[in-house]
């Protein structure tokens, strides 16, 4: 029998031994396969997304005519805020905040109008009592959103006032049009004196029109972009902000008409031409004003709204998004725990003594164990992937998570193999520093905890301070989570720059492989040392 064949037989002893040991623990097998699936399934049907429904208390000033009707305030707020009461007492509100019967206290400023009119921003104090940093950030963000909403409504109210003023303007324009008609009639009848008087009346009205239009233009100065026509080819879209310019033209044409009327040498045709120009100006002004009035004040206040379009290949739900991470996390944890426990148990059982005397080498032992765990965990991963992705319905009850696998199965397989390989290496390393089974389990649990925090499973890696990210890069799960998310949810190999920051995809696999080699090498050297004679 060749030496190579004997080596194979010796290594295969550990493959079958690991399989038989795991097989003898049906509860372990059940928890290995069904556990992760059930966790994901429960998560899928149970997770409702972030609720963050905050109980709010509004403090209104005693002065002024502020409503104390809760329903009125509820109508003003969205789903995120649930206004539970209105009070005049800030201390009472703060006491309720302290006892945490409300989440947020919003104080309406007493002298907002005075502050704004004096050119200062009005301060709206928002109090909360929160230790959860995520919730704290959420409340701060929500406050910003609501204040923006208030600002928008305020601007809308002012715009509405402007539209009312535009109604007056149209009356003035109608009067001017009548005067112009009378002027024209007088010119046709050769009554230049009457025509000049009518034109001068129009000149006075024009001053009012010009002033009104300029005020409106100033009011809309910050929003002037909104009323610009999106396309110059569209004749119906008019730039309202150019109303000031139009009013100036009207005034100029009126002045020219008056000069022509006061000049006895001006012929009738010239006068009628000047009258036509003024009429055109009036029509233009009227059209502009009419359009301005027809615009919704809210559009004037908040002219932009986002049109969101996700270019990702799928619209993943929470279960689909977290499924690849859970799979990798479970595989890493099982690999680490099984390997560490198995190696420590060999030592505690005394089989190591048998290995020392027998012709089996440390490399053969580890080859057998690695192969065993790769096959075992590969099988578990396959079952989990099938259970996650397929649509299984039992008597009408869906038992599937429907997680999409858009990418290449071979790439997925290769990545999973590398995750298992490096995780087994980490387990081997842990076994060399563990004196007992409980120590091995303890350290494995610590690695699991570190993996949840530092792998990018829940928190993005970019959110971690860069030296701390070294922990992330020392964990196989970090590479596994991002790799599987891209392969399963994005459908294959992404562009290199989009991968873990600036790290290209092959580099991720290479890093995973290097990590596995590093752990395995240290583990092997330590194991070989422990097999040496005492």
């Amino acid at each position: 029998m060749s030496r190579l064949w004997k080596r194979f037989i010796r290594a295969s002893a550990f493959v079958s031994k690991e399989f038989n040991e795991v097989r003898r623990q049906p509860r372990l097998v059940l928890s290995l396969v069904l556990g992760p699936f059930l966790i994901l399934f429960l998560f899928g049907i149970g997770y409702q997304g972030e609720t963050n429904n905050l109980r709010a208390l509004v403090v209104v000033p005693t002065t002024g005519q502020f409503s104390k009707d809760v329903a009125e305030y509820r109508a003003m707020t969205g789903n995120q805020l649930n206004v539970t009461g209105v009070t005049n007492s800030l201390p009472e509100a703060l006491a309720r905040l302290k006892e945490r019967s409300v989440d947020i206290v919003v104080q309406v400023p007493e002298d907002a109008a005075r502050q704004i009119s004096s050119g200062a921003q009005a301060r709206v104090p928002v109090y909360f009592n929160e230790v959860d940093p995520l919730r704290r950030d959420w409340i701060t963000y929500l406050s910003f959103l609501y204040i923006n909403e208030i600002n928008k409504n305020t601007v809308a109210a002012v715009a509405s006032q402007g539209q009312e003023q535009a109604g007056d303007l149209r009356s003035v324009l109608a009067r001017m049009r009548n005067s112009l008609a009378a002027t024209e009639q007088s010119v046709r009848n050769g009554q230049t004196q009457e025509a000049s008087q009518e034109a001068q009346r129009m000149q006075g009205s024009s001053t009012n029109v010009q002033l009104t239009v300029v005020l409106l233009a100033q009011l809309l100065a910050s929003e002037n972009a909104l009323v610009k026509p999106p396309s110059p080819q569209d004749p119906q879209q008019v730039n309202l902000a150019s109303g000031g310019e139009a009013a100036g033209e009207l005034s100029e044409d009126l002045r020219a008409l008056n000069e022509a009327l006061s000049d006895p040498n001006t012929d009738r045709a010239t006068l009628l031409q000047r009258i036509d120009r003024v009429r055109t100006d009036l029509d233009e002004m009227d059209r502009l004003t009419q359009q301005f009035q027809s615009i919704n004040p809210l559009v004037l206040a908040a002219p932009f709204y986002p049109q969101v379009e996700n270019t990702a290949p799928i619209k993943a739900n929470f279960t689909s998004f977290y499924a690849p991470g859970v799979l990798v996390l479970i595989l890493q944890h099982i690999a680490i725990t099984l390997t560490a426990l198995s190696m420590v148990r060999e030592r505690l059982l005394g089989t190591v003594e048998l290995f020392r005397v027998s012709p089996v080498s440390p490399m053969e032992i580890l080859t057998g164990k690695y192969t065993g765990y790769l096959l075992l965990l590969g099988g578990i991963a396959s079952i989990l992937l099938v259970m996650m992705s397929n649509n299984i319905v039992i008597e009408g009850f869906p038992l599937s998570l429907g997680v999409p696998i858009l990418g290449d199965w071979l790439l997925l397989f290769f990545t999973i193999v590398l995750v298992i390989f490096s995780s087994v290496g980490l387990g081997l390393l842990i076994s060399t520093i563990s004196k007992s089974e409980s120590q091995a389990v303890q350290i494995s649990m610590l690695v699991l905890l570190a993996s949840v925090f530092f792998s990018g499973f829940f928190l993005r890696l970019e959110a971690l301070w860069w030296p701390v990210r070294a922990v992330s890069y020392a964990l196989p799960v970090t590479y596994g989570v991002s790799s599987l998310q891209v392969i399963m949810l994005r459908g294959g190999v992404p562009s290199p720059a989009a991968w873990l920051g600036d790290v290209p995809f092959p580099a991720v696999l290479l890093a995973l492989f290097t990590l596995g080699i590093f752990f395995s090498l240290i583990g092997y050297l330590q194991f070989r040392r422990s097999l040496r004679q005492q």
Partner: protein
């Protein structure tokens, strides 16, 4: 110790110190190198001397028994021989190689049965044996056949599918023995193989050991059952880490009691008869055991009985029985232990006296 010649039916391959593989000839009249050669070996574990100054050799084709009370250093010795421990001082050679670096081809000829059950509790009896067979590179067919054969031998065939954790301690010892014999080792180290085994099966084990010995294999067996020394070709007696004696069982018995013992039963036993026997030069001493029975210590029983019978006849005694008395090995062992204890105490006393004398000399020197 008798001259051991190479006379084996096994084509055993050995490695010389230069790591060259040697094929032993089937018949050779040159003195064979010992399978185990232990010279001046000591081992310190955790600051305590586990064994000290061990010197012995084990020849190919013999059963070497290693006997001693619990904690005397038997397991330490076997671990030194198997390479689990390296000696603190001295040299150990097994099959021509150092056990710390024996080489895989030498290790393939080792069989090892540890003192404790070191196999996997969650595997069945058969799976455990198959696992060990694989460690020695046995192929599927050979493995299956050999495992089945040994399961029958250790009477565990019907229990082969039981988990190792669910069998008794005695059965676990049997699994260990079967595991050690799976690959037909040329050199078997067995650490208390018969502990916890019922007497019938124990007898069967020794029968198998002797069969292996007869095939030319070498067995190094430790035991607490002193009586089992009878089954060994040679016995090493160890006490508190020191080797008290190494010899054949018969020689050890003689050493313990100063020679063979002859029991004599006569009618009308008298002091005159005792004195007459004591006057014989071959008789060392005579001791009355009962009213009609006496026990005489002689060099060797065979040659001593005829002259003793002549004396008794000359005194007209009616000799009802005269035969060699073989004290059981428990008595031999106890006697050897007592003798060693006395010798140790004497040596200690002498050393103390010497030290005292030296101290006194040193103290007086300044006055001189």
């Amino acid at each position: 110790m008798s001259q051991h010649l190479v006379n084996t039916t096994l084509p055993i391959e050995l490695q010389d110190p230069a790591n060259r593989t040697l094929q032993l000839p089937l018949v050779d009249q040159r003195p064979a190198p010992p399978m185990i050669d232990v010279r001046n070996v000591s081992k310190v574990l955790g600051g305590n001397t586990a064994v000290a100054d061990l010197n012995f050799q084990v020849q190919q084709g013999e059963i070497f028994g290693f006997i001693g009370p619990s904690g005397s250093g038997k397991t330490t010795t076997i671990r030194l021989l198997t390479g689990v421990y390296t000696p603190t001082t001295g040299d150990v050679t097994v099959m021509g190689a150092r056990p710390s670096h024996p080489g895989r081809r030498v290790q393939e000829h080792f069989g090892y049965m540890p003192q404790l059950f070191v196999l996997y509790p969650n595997l069945t009896v058969q799976e455990n044996l198959s696992f060990v067979a694989q460690l020695y590179g046995m192929g599927r067919v050979a493995r299956y056949r050999r495992v089945k054969e040994l399961l029958r031998f250790v009477e565990l065939y019907d229990d082969r599918n039981k988990l190792a954790t669910n069998v008794s301690g005695g059965m676990q010892r049997r699994i260990e023995l079967a595991a050690a014999l799976l690959h037909n080792p040329a050199l078997l180290f067995a650490d208390e193989p018969t502990a916890g085994i019922d007497p019938v099966l124990r007898g069967k084990f020794w029968e198998e050991f002797r069969r292996l010995r007869d095939e030319g294999r070498t067995l190094f067996i430790t035991t607490q059952y002193v009586g089992e020394s009878e089954y060994c070709d040679r016995v090493g007696v160890i006490r508190e880490g020191r080797l008290v004696a190494v010899d054949t069982p018969t020689a050890l018995r003689r050493r313990a009691f100063g020679g063979d013992m002859v029991d004599v039963v006569v009618t009308g036993l008298s002091d005159a008869i005792v004195r007459a026997l004591e006057e014989l030069p071959i008789v060392k001493y005579v001791q009355r055991v009962s009213a009609n029975e006496l026990r005489a210590s002689v060099g060797e029983a065979g040659p001593a009985i005829p002259p003793m019978l002549d004396v008794l006849n000359s005194l007209s005694c009616e000799v009802k029985r005269i035969e060699e008395y073989r004290p059981n090995f428990d008595d031999v062992f106890i006697k050897l232990m007592e003798q060693d204890e006395e010798a140790t105490a004497q040596a200690a006393a002498q050393a103390a006296a010497q030290a005292e004398a030296n101290d006194a000399g040193t103290t007086e020197t300044p006055h001189v």
